[in-house]
């Protein structure tokens, strides 16, 4: 009965999240920061064909709370309090990640071969607090100080991969790999390499400089993608080590994308009313903004995939209870992401876990997950990151995952 209660509660949480008024971003986001533990579960048998279907959505920020994000997406008025709250959350920079993907993977256990097909979006936005202030609060409170805009950037890809996978294992070691094609259909990216803004305290002088680029990625990108995962179990200590690299490889992007570049410096005590160059008249004239922009068409070039590297340890504490830790870098994360958690058996065949996650795009947050048997040969895994805050306007993101796999969970004490 307990597994039914657990299952129902988890599904109910997902339902509520989907229909919450502030849950708009959920439909387009994902949480790549957590791999389903089912990936590392032993297969139910060493022959036959297993498969997995998973969906992950996640958005996470260190400053933009759910209400703020929903207002930006759905509309409405951003209150000064909401803006101040977001500003207060930021330290040296603001970050926002938005991810979502769907993956289908098969594995022929006898041949030790399989296929992996994945499609999703990956994005990363980061900005300086000063830029946030200028955009959302204005410069009135910044008079007399230099606002630094350097380091602001944003990028988003729609990425598809198809891989041939394989694995090798012996008693204490297992190696999974995949190699295939990667395809980027659309995307966008931009950055401010150099940017300053300053208005004197008596509002009689302005200095601003901006060197930034932006590209709408419409040219198709095609390349090689790979992944590798190694797992070793130490029988003496009952500790398992997992090392993994995903999205290895690069894309060749066809020529044709148009890059817009702005490289402008303006220092002024005010502009003349009229005249050539910068003047009030020319600012209001047609084509002035266009005159600040340089457009060039990019030649064909290579771009690296958003490679992520992670390493984790899992160990038993007592029968039915295990610990886990993992660190992940890359994958466009602005900061490394660390995770620590506990796994425990629920009933005879279900497993649940709680985690503390820190880094990536967000701050310290909890996560829960559960792997539940569905029938004799299938497992349903549900994952929620910061599940309580996900349904509050003050939460700094949401992350949900759902996976259905033809495999069976095993006890937490022998999940190595």
């Amino acid at each position: 009965m307990s597994r039914f209660v657990f299952f129902f509660a988890t599904v109910a949480l997902l339902f509520a999240g989907a229909f919450a008024t502030t849950a708009f971003g959920q439909a387009v986001s994902s949480s790549p920061s957590v791999r389903f533990q089912v990936d590392s579960l032993p297969r139910a048998a060493d022959s036959g064909c297993n498969w997995e279907l998973s969906i992950q959505v996640d958005h996470r920020s260190n400053a933009i709370d759910n209400a703020f994000a929903a207002t930006m997406l759905i509309g409405g008025a951003l209150s000064p309090e909401a803006i101040a709250a977001a500003r207060d959350e930021m330290r040296s920079r603001g970050t926002l990640g938005l991810r979502g993907n769907i993956r289908f993977e098969t594995s022929d256990l006898a041949a030790r071969r399989g296929w992996r097909i994945e499609s999703g979006i990956v994005s990363d936005v980061r900005w300086t607090p000063e830029l946030f202030d200028l955009v959302f609060a204005g410069n009135a409170s910044h008079l007399g100080r230099f606002d630094v805009l350097n380091g602001t950037r944003g990028r988003a890809w729609q990425l598809n991969t198809i891989m041939r996978t394989g694995f090798w294992k012996n008693e204490h070691n297992a190696l999974h790999w995949g190699l295939g094609l990667a395809h980027r259909s659309v995307g966008a990216q931009g950055d401010i390499s150099t940017g300053y803004f300053w208005v004197s305290s008596n509002v009689d002088t302005l200095y601003t400089s901006l060197y930034g680029r932006s590209t709408v990625l419409e040219a198709q990108g095609l390349g090689l993608a790979g992944q590798i995962r190694y797992r070793r179990t130490d029988p003496a200590s009952q500790v398992a080590l997992t090392l993994e690299a995903t999205h290895l490889g690069a894309l060749f992007v066809a020529p044709g994308d148009v890059r817009v570049e702005v490289d402008t410096v303006l220092g002024t005590t005010g502009l003349p009313l009229a005249g050539d160059g910068w003047s009030i008249e020319s600012l209001q004239g047609d084509g002035f903004a266009e005159s600040l922009i340089v457009r060039d068409t990019l030649a064909g070039h290579f771009e690296a995939l958003p490679t992520a590297l992670s390493g984790g340890l899992t160990g038993a504490i007592i029968p039915g209870l295990a610990w886990e830790v993992r660190a992940t870098v890359g994958g466009w994360r602005p900061t490394p992401e660390a995770m620590a958690g506990l796994q425990f058996k629920v009933g005879r065949r279900s497993i649940a876990g709680i985690r503390a996650v820190y880094g990536g795009w967000g701050k310290l947050r909890p996560a829960i997950w559960a792997a539940l048997p569905v029938g004799q040969h299938h497992t349903l895994t549900l994952y929620a990151e910061d599940p309580v805050a996900a349904f509050q306007g003050t939460g700094l993101g949401r992350g949900f995952g759902l996976q259905l796999a033809k495999s069976l969970p095993t006890g937490a004490d022998n999940r190595r």
Partner: protein, 512 residues
Amino acid sequence: MKQHTTWVTTAVIVLLAGALTLWGCRKEPTTWAVDVHLPVVDMLLDWADVLPADAAIEMPPGEVAHLVWQGEVARLDVSGLGQIPDTTVANDLTPDFVGGPIAVPPGSTLLDEFEDISFDVDGPEFRRLTLDSGLLAWTVESTTDGFVRLQYDFPGVVKDGVPVRLDIVLPPATEVGGLASASGVIDIAEASVDFTGISGTSRNKIASHLIIGTPEDISDTAQVFGDDSIRVAMTFSGMKVRDIEGYFGSFDVDVNEGLPLFDPSTFPSGLIGLSPLRADLMLVNNMAADLRLNLTSLSLGGTSIDHPSIGQDQYLARADWSAGTPPVADVWSMDLLSTTPAFFDVLAALPDSLRASGELEINPLGDVSGGNDYFHKDYPPLLKLDLDVPLNVALTDLVFRDTLRIAPTEVPDFDGRLHIEVRNGFPVQMSLAGAWQPSGSSFAATLEPRAGGAGEAPVTTISVPISSEELAAGGDIQFEAGLATAGYKNFTGHERIRIRVRIEGTHNVVIE
């Protein structure tokens, strides 16, 4: 277990449905308010902004600055010179026999004729001119049963170094309904035109050479009947000259030149006290033709000004163009400091205009140069002023009114103020008042005069409330400035007013 599967299926469907529902949510604008403080305008007004571009302020050390200006105030209208009437010349070639047909083999010449095209110019005898604009329209018609070649040369009309030529081949008329025709237009702007005709000594004539025959390179024998005809018509039109040589004839031009001075709507009242050292009104003859000027009246506003030279014939010799441009011109001048009443006493009361009337005669002594008059449209006879005015000026309750037009500007959801900071570097007290219509915003301020020496210019700040509605409506700012000095004041020429505008307010950002 079946129950589990049902739950899973339901969960997935509901999740997808929920996501799709939210994805399709109505998007209303996202808004937030930003508080903006920015410098907008920083401009200087100095003597250069109120004086003609070619005026100079001379600043002898230790003395009062002088405004020195020798500038053009009017160009005399001699547009009657060099007017070339539109002229059409037609040639109609008919055989001098009856019946036919007579076979005309390829390469035969039917007409080879040099001809002068005369222009009906009454009086002047032009030898050469350069055109600013002009067109040569042509029409050719033939009823001949055979190919006809027409070559029309104008050796005296040279454009881009090449004589203008029309070379056309008409098809047999029987192939095109009994009449073969062609027409076109040649742009002869910038062309140099020799008006001495075929002989090289004629006047008002353009030489032409017309050849009509059958083309050599088409092996077709034309069949010519006695009633066939070949007609050519050429029309010179719209010819405006850039420069012209010859004898211009002798004729009068009415002089009635007015120079606007103080517009009463801009300067409704006040007095300006000036004491010039030099003030000459000059007539400059840039034409290579003699002039006679008889100035019959001179007035400032409604006040007649008398001068010993008024009513007297003044002869100006032709300009010397032998060294090219600018020509060495003869100049006649009138000393405005010896008028009755005193010219600058009348000027002090802000008259609306200076007006001069009289007559100007071209070549009053006839063709004294043997047909070597020359006129260039960029160098007509000029009225100029030569001034040297010490900047020791008294302004008495001078009122200046103007309207500043504000173009509608879309700055949505803005509410704030414009702070206008004025540093008055002139030793002139200014009272400034304005009203923005139709918004109704108004402002008023008094700008204290700079004390003189190296003292700081006094600063006055004017705050004008502005909003999106006012900016979107645009309109006019009508302002009035009152200017006064404490008696005569010396100006250094370095005086300036610095105007800085900053904008402060709240802008409501709207993202659709």
